[in-house]
Symmetry: C2
């Protein structure tokens, strides 16, 4: 944010009139450049007892495993974005079943919106951003080789939910703690489909 995206001149960091925090403001044309969190949308695809995982072919966290997920694009809904990412990364067509988790990561300005989904066809394969795609038994999830914390917490809670024989809807924030990171402000709700 060194330069103004409107006129190209240099921005300065200052608190605009009527606001309470510093923004990048163009010293020349006065445009205020707001920066906001980005949404990461993804799917926990369940097939029978197994879960679809992808091994990342790209940075960050190349070589680590994840659920299909990525930045939501302009012009799409969050569930559509989660399904698009699943098609791109795992060549899998899915239907969204229900929201599963919303985990904010305040220190990096990201919000993970994770949905449970099911395969529409029993076909999957690595897309360009994956080297492997597998349906993994929960007992064989590579916990030490997961790419992202929000994915790890989602899968841990999913395993817990399945053992308890029900799904919950989870809210929380991934925050720095004394010994690394932790899931803070974890709230959960019983979630059941209602017929229209």
């Amino acid at each position: 944010m060194k330069h103004c995206s409107s006129c190209g001149q240099e921005n300065e960091l200052r608190i605009p009139d009527g606001e309470d925090r510093e923004r990048h403001v163009c010293a020349s044309c006065g445009t205020i450049h707001y920066q906001n969190p980005k949404m990461v949308v993804g799917c926990i695809v369940e097939h029978g007892n197994r879960i679809l995982l992808c091994k990342r072919a790209i940075s960050p966290r190349r070589g680590f495993w994840t659920i299909p997920a990525g930045f939501m694009e302009l012009g799409e809904s969050a569930p559509a974005g989660a399904a698009r990412e699943t098609l791109e990364e795992a060549c899998a067509k899915v239907e969204i079943v229900a929201p599963y988790a919303h985990f904010d990561i305040p220190h990096i300005g990201q919000a993970y919106l994770i949905y449970r989904a099911r395969l529409l066809e029993e076909r999957f394969a690595p897309g360009p951003e994956s080297t492997e795609v597998e349906l993994v038994d929960p007992a064989r999830i590579p916990w030490e080789e997961l790419a992202f914390l929000a994915v790890r917490y989602s899968l841990e809670l999913l395993c817990e939910d399945r053992e308890a024989g029900r799904y919950r809807h989870h809210l929380g924030s991934v925050v720095r703690s004394n010994d690394g990171f932790a899931l803070a402000d974890h709230q959960f709700f019983k979630l059941a489909s209602l017929k229209k």
Copy 2:
């Protein structure tokens, strides 16, 4: 996005290598400038039977009514942002009760995350962005004077849920339709608190 925010030179619209859609890419330094949806976070504050509404003092939709809501900021969680907006716009301290609705608005790149909340103290007043703040009986909601469609749909569904004696969790997208706009892909789920 005319200029590169890194170097100030002009961007061009083109599809970067390995991607599938046009991005603003700096013709000089090559930086790709991604644009993603913004999250709007807000609260339906219930107090007894009534709901906290604010009359907007600012553009857009000045003079129209809304629930307290605004753009999520870097460094906060979505529920914290919804509570912050409620403090700013209605001078009301609230506790988040549960997620209520996630409505995407693809054509303007926004995602509304709306939470049910309760007053921690029975105190509220117009903040700088409001001219009036009121606890409104559902029968007296000014439907024709609501500022935003996502707010309208949320309040309509809340009234419906209350009449049915339960709350649901709602997903959907606000889309253009033949006669204006509509709530598309509406899915809803029964949501109940679970004790930890």
